[in-house]
Symmetry: C2
Subunit: 364 residues, 2 copies
Amino acid sequence: ASNKKLLILPGDGIGPEVMGEVHRVIGWMDKRRAVGFELEEGLVGGAAIDGEGAPVSDATVEKAMAADAVLLGAVGGPKWDDLPFQQKPERGLLRLRKDMALFANLRPALCFDALVEASSLKPEVVSGLDIMIVRELTGGVYFGEPRGIETLPDGTRRGINTQVYTTPEIHRVARVAFDLARKRQNRLCSVEKANVMESGVLWREEVTKLHAAEFSDVELSHMYADNCAMQLVRAPKQFDVIVTDNLFGDMLSDAAAMLTGSLGMLPSASLGDVDASGRRAALYEPVHGSAPDITGQGKANPLATLLSFAMMLRYSFDLGDDADLIEQAVQDVLAAGHRTGDIAVPGAAVVSTAQMGDALLAAL
Amino acid sequence: ASNKKLLILPGDGIGPEVMGEVHRVIGWMDKRRAVGFELEEGLVGGAAIDGEGAPVSDATVEKAMAADAVLLGAVGGPKWDDLPFQQKPERGLLRLRKDMALFANLRPALCFDALVEASSLKPEVVSGLDIMIVRELTGGVYFGEPRGIETLPDGTRRGINTQVYTTPEIHRVARVAFDLARKRQNRLCSVEKANVMESGVLWREEVTKLHAAEFSDVELSHMYADNCAMQLVRAPKQFDVIVTDNLFGDMLSDAAAMLTGSLGMLPSASLGDVDASGRRAALYEPVHGSAPDITGQGKANPLATLLSFAMMLRYSFDLGDDADLIEQAVQDVLAAGHRTGDIAVPGAAVVSTAQMGDALLAAL
Ligand SMILES: CC(C)[C@H](C(=O)O)[C@@H](O)C(=O)O
Ligand SMILES: CC(C)[C@H](C(=O)O)[C@@H](O)C(=O)O
């Protein structure tokens, strides 16, 4: 019996298509690397709404909590856009994050050498770019109470959300970021709006305290979120690791991803705490969305999901060598000129999802 | 006696230096265009902390409310960085915004032809860029209650801020944005996180209602804030007018400003309601900050403040022709190759703040 229980949640849109290529790599690993997984599959997002009546079912949440890792495709699509807030596909993803306590979202923004030209930024600004954004994922305005829409006696409506962070929430995500910085260039930039928000003042104070107490070897700086948005556009290579809250992290990591010009290439990992049995709750997913415009046409780029799978090998199963193999194979297929539509260069041939999978397996 | 009461608040850092060039243009207008102003001057930010014991004094706030327009330089600097939250220079600016009820912040992101190369983005992505971001400025998480840091019985600290919007707050800023769209390309994109925040759901619903009721001739679209951050990097020219809340607007307008590559060139206007006497509360300021690193060296670019002054002529005093003159003169000095350090090209000569002022007056 395997000790690698993997739950696969293909989700919506291009999710199932890109996940198909992961299955092929899993088959290859079993045969060629003697690494076997115990696989389960489930529904999330619109697929779960249609199939099980909720954006994620209790049974799926239970499976996710029991798994050693979860690999997710993407959620959402026009079909479910007009559903009420609590029933939208996104709620499935948000519930998984919260129930699995996945407080640290790791979003590498890496500019692949072969794809420098795909960026809207000048090559010299982004070539060699390698930032790691650590986004807090289970707190802040995403989950804070009170929240909702109320109608006042005079008919005015009021929409409320609450941004809230506690010291332990700040410490645990900052710790992940400091640890990552140590394995990289040893520089951490903490981002908030301490000039405007008290939650940002607390964030800055606590990150500073933790730095002094446990990580004084890491170079720490602080930056306001608006300035960070600017600096990412101006000179992104100044950053090594960035740590920030849920909402700022949502925007900044997307902006950073777009700098690379290849959203279809970027993986992410969402990590929880290590439990008594040494297991760390973890969910991996590509940064790109469900891409309804190209769904079902075999056009999707599977590399972000394959790289998410590689992150899983590294962070959840300590299979760094196998992760290296996959990451190298991705570099190789790019260097060989294989391009799905999203990373195509004018004039060059465009391959399908399955052809990209073929090329990757061949490179492996 | 003039009916143009103008309060000038130079503020900190390079604020006083760039404001010096505005005074020269005011002198020119008096002499050559027979447009006179009744001028007052006051302190704000660190200068007010040092001089009057608070980031803005009650007397200055009163003067601002009595003026027809306020022109502000910049606030903040390392000297005041360690002051407690409530005493920081920024609080002066935030109090002015709130007390003057300046709910609509207009931030044009314009890429000047002569400066296309200064952008970190590829020329084809930004040349001709002309976006107007309308940011809500007196609500949301910047001012919402409850707020603060509390210590729980077990010693845990909790930082709280409240994101709150009411229907009238949404309507009045959206109305400004729709009106602006009509004078431009007639397209408005409303930005929030309605997939995660109820305040965003309300925002989207109310903008949609207002559109149907009063502005159905304007093309309206909706976008999530994270996607907007990406789209600004990927293809900024897709936008005409963007309307968004205080916090998203802070980040998105800064990112948009940086796309143009010339932060030292960008003005802003913050507008309130028109009162019974037909006067609209208004504050104008450059987008750039106080730039402590170059303060007192005569290196600052005065053009953003001069363009803010031009916006003032247009929006507060209905002097569109005079605003045109100044804007054209700015284009002319750029075309003639005059460059302060921030917009310098390698090899070309760099002029001082005063020399840029000279060139502008000559062009006028
Ligand atoms: C789908 C949405 C709820 C989600 C978020 O806002 O966190 C997405 O944008 C992301 O970044 O994973
Ligand atoms: C100085 C600061 C309080 C301010 C803000 O956050 O609004 C600034 O960033 C701005 O955008 O005008």
